[in-house]
Subunit: 541 residues, 2 copies
């Protein structure tokens, strides 16, 4: 791919006839060229099945289904598949890659007709035990990983064309002739761009923490492909929110900083003509954004990620190069701030978490302040503070406004929106924005947690910031307890990789109205790796 060649086409799409592009075509081309130069080569590791399993209904198991050992893989390989339709094979770990297998004749007969086989790949047992159709989900049914293959004649080898993400594979025979045949040689060419190895944890690290770390590392490994993907089963693309959290975890584990650099550049090169970063971009068939898809909090977190990248790597050249993008996000942010120095309700997607009903007013105020502070820090490191000279004054005022309008000093927490909602994430972002004093923050977080109807985080994404805030204000034991309870809960429920959605109270929670289409290996869930390794004094003892 030669970004410089497709840029004119891209700009034609991005630019309305009368529009003006914030960044020059040459600048965008250069950013995309640099992104391409950092594209990692994927490593391939051949993985084979570990055993057969049976899927059993069990009320105590995650989502009501457990996979129990049901024999050696050779049991499957050495006798006719016709007697074993519906068999489930367990690769023993979550894998992302390309699946292939062989079909061989069994007995004396010849292959006189094609065979039709359905493979269903699942990250978790219930995914294989739940009928996909009629499909009630809110995302494309095609994300579900069931593939029907016609095998013209046997012996033969097949490879499923799409890249898959799974631990278990169910094999169902849909059509065959009278001759017998066997399946064998199942393997996955597992791919990742991870090259390094994470340093071991300190001796004496509690087992619960070690287990969480292991699953977190696997999650990150699976999501680190030619970009920081959000999840290898679904979406398979770069989102800013995932990039930031993966970069944090990568910094404390695999240290592939070029992947962070690549993603920062790619997002920059594909920003909207207004300069507003797109929330997500695609690599194929050539890098392009999801047009008009913006998430305000994600765009601001790109600045935080850039600062973090600079501090981690000392790569001033990249930070200089990308500074105009960071400055532009601040300008974009300002258009969402009213005269009262709070969010002006101008329509835009504000995310913060998968939690229905979460009011975003207070979290956004905290994020504005944090981002402006971080951007100013970045500017100072680059000698660019004159370009954003208004930021210190602005954040000071925004802090004051936040305290006046949102802080309920009697209750000792902030409330958000017209209904004065109490949520964990409102306290979290006030804390991370430095709007609370540490003591206020401690109190607010504790008060929220003690409020029975407080809105609590609905996903590992929101929960990450909860842990960050608890640590930031010195509630270290609470941070550890929360992390062990939340991520350890997934481990106890059998997670090989951490999930996109996890509510300890509802195994079936799905933002997409159908839990099998949830991603069960999701980048934004990998951050225990970061916490455990950045704060060994909290977690590794």
């Amino acid at each position: 791919m030669k970004p410089i060649l497709f840029l004119p086409v891209l700009l034609f799409i991005l630019l309305p006839c009368s529009g003006q592009d914030t960044f020059s075509p040459a600048q965008r081309a250069e950013w995309l060229r640099k992104a391409e130069a950092c594209k990692p080569k994927l490593s391939e590791t051949v993985k084979t099945p570990q055993r057969l399993v049976s899927l059993n209904k069990n009320e105590d198991a995650f989502q009501g289904w457990e996979a129990s050992a049901a024999g050696d893989i050779n049991t499957l390989y050495t006798s006719s598949l016709k007697k074993q339709s519906g068999v489930v094979v367990d690769f023993g770990e979550h894998l992302t890659g390309h699946f292939s297998c062989h079909f061989n004749l069994a007995g004396n007969a010849d292959s006189d007709a094609p065979v039709r086989v359905k493979f269903t790949f699942g990250e978790v047992p219930a995914e294989l035990a739940t009928p996909f159709d009629p499909y009630p989900g809110g995302l494309s049914r095609a994300w579900l990983q069931d593939e029907i293959v016609t095998i013209d004649c046997i012996p033969n080898s097949i490879t499923i064309p799409r890249r898959l993400s799974f631990r278990y594979v169910k094999i169902e025979l849909l059509a065959h002739s009278s001759f017998d045949f066997k399946i064998s040689g199942m393997e996955v060419k597992a791919v990742t761009s991870v090259t390094g190895t994470a340093a071991p944890l300190a001796q004496g690290t509690p087992q619960a923490i070690a287990d969480i770390d292991r699953v977190g590392l696997a999650t990150l490994r699976e999501c680190m492909q030619t970009v920081y993907e959000d999840g290898p089963k679904r979406d398979m693309r770069l989102w800013i929110g995932d990039l930031y959290l993966e970069a944090l975890a990568n910094t404390y584990s695999y240290k592939n900083h070029d992947l962070t650099k690549r993603c920062l550049y790619m997002l920059a090169g594909l920003a909207a003509p207004s300069g507003f970063l797109h929330a997500t971009v695609f690599e194929t068939p050539k890098p392009h954004p999801q047009t008009r898809q913006h998430i305000l909090d994600y765009a601001l977190l790109w600045n935080v990620a850039l600062l973090d990248y600079l501090k981690t790597t000392g790569d001033r050249e990249t930070a200089f190069d990308l500074w105009p993008v960071a400055a532009k996000q601040v300008e974009v942010a300002k258009t969402y701030i009213g005269d009262d120095l709070m969010y002006n309700e101008k329509p835009v997607w504000i995310f913060f978490d998968w939690r229905d009903g979460l009011n975003k007013q207070a979290p956004l105020q905290g994020l504005f302040v944090k981002t402006f502070n971080d951007t100013y820090e970045l500017a100072k490191m680059l000698g660019k503070e004159k370009e954003v000279a208004d930021l210190p004054g602005l954040t000071k005022k925004m802090i004051r406004v936040a305290r006046q309008n949102l802080y309920d000093s009697k209750r000792g927490l902030v409330v958000s929106g017209p209904n004065k909602q109490v949520s964990y994430l409102s306290q979290v972002w006030m804390t991370l924005g430095g709007i609370f004093t540490p003591k206020e923050a401690q109190k607010a977080l504790k008060n929220a947690m003690a409020t029975p109807d407080a809105v609590y985080p609905g996903s590992p994404y929101g929960t990450h910031y909860m842990i960050e805030a608890l640590i930031a204000c010195g509630l270290e034991q609470e941070a550890k307890d929360y992390l062990v309870k939340y991520w350890g809960g997934m481990v106890q429920k059998g997670a090989d990789t951490f999930w996109e959605v996890y509510d300890p109270n509802n195994d079936f929670l799905s933002p997409y109205k159908f839990f099998p289409v949830n991603s069960y290996c999701h980048a934004w869930s990998c951050t225990p790796v970061y916490f455990i390794r950045k704060y060994p004094q909290i977690f590794q003892k």
Copy 2:
């Protein structure tokens, strides 16, 4: 492929430990090497759709469904596929080959999820209008040509992996996201090993004959691949019965005699250890027979085909080379002849036609005699008559026995089996075996046709021999009428290629309990090409 390399393995399969091979390993290897040397290169022609069609129920149409013009293909290509799921595309002719198409975005949105599309390929309209499931058929359901494809992202191009055989393709959208997309660039890389062009028919040839000839040529072209296939949709392999009839048609049209040579050699190289030819052989993954699959009449017709090949080409080297195989088939045949010089009821598959209840005693007696006579003629041409010196005497006796036991001189026809069945094919094979005098043959054939409950041929295969017999005994007008009525009936019902099964009285006849799995382009139906061109005085005026 190097046949000499796999031969030891092959022999290991073919030879029971204590068995003795009729042909030496070196001889088999040489025959297979010669078969491989004649393997034709397939020509590829890109074909594109001609129009859209709608499938309409119509009692008067073949199998109750007709395809009516429903617009230009660009109607499909230029607007969202999401609004056109279920569309049927017509390529305008029967094609055998590899299907591919493109998917492009429609409108501004980006491809943010995979798309799942089901393509159903049909040779005849009813095939696309009849639900395949639950599948009631007696052959593998996987022969039916419906393929489900997951397209990871759009734009993209896809190629269906399996070779297809069809005129119509139905496109159904099974899963998608909110973005719009279009399908375009549908094409088939159509394959055949035909290189030559058949000579034009005489000026003034009746239109009905010209139409039959055109459809016959298309049928033969589609079935001539790297072997004489029986049908490009189903089986896709070399059967002796099809080989013989295709070779006849080829001799009078495309004249690719090397394909005949290849098939004769391949069958010889893959004969059973006893020397008995297998009825069918496969080319992939390496040439091998359908083990223990013998059809007695097919094995004998191989001799007839070899004689015909020698007469057509003058290739004495091949005939010499393969003579031992022909001699062996006579020996095999003798083991099925009892002391009474008739079929001894030893179990073996005897085919002659797809017609339930057809008694094979009389047809087999006729075929024995014809084959022995033809083999003796072949021997004489090769100076080998001493090796089969008993044949003239044997056939003489078998003719006498046939006339004594089977000929009902009062009724003027032969009867077959314990129930004295009257069938067309009994008269046919008595005629072709020269057991009847021409006058007796005329009378017998006419009498059978005049017998209301006589068993008539159930397929174009059996019907071929009916035409051959009518011509052989001088009933030329009857032959022409029969051919025009039978094959012309298919043309009138819309055949693009001739069908495996055709009973003018039952559109839904299927030897496999489900008419959509019938082959609608079947080699053994192509022989009007042979009759029309071999006998211009009958057909081309």
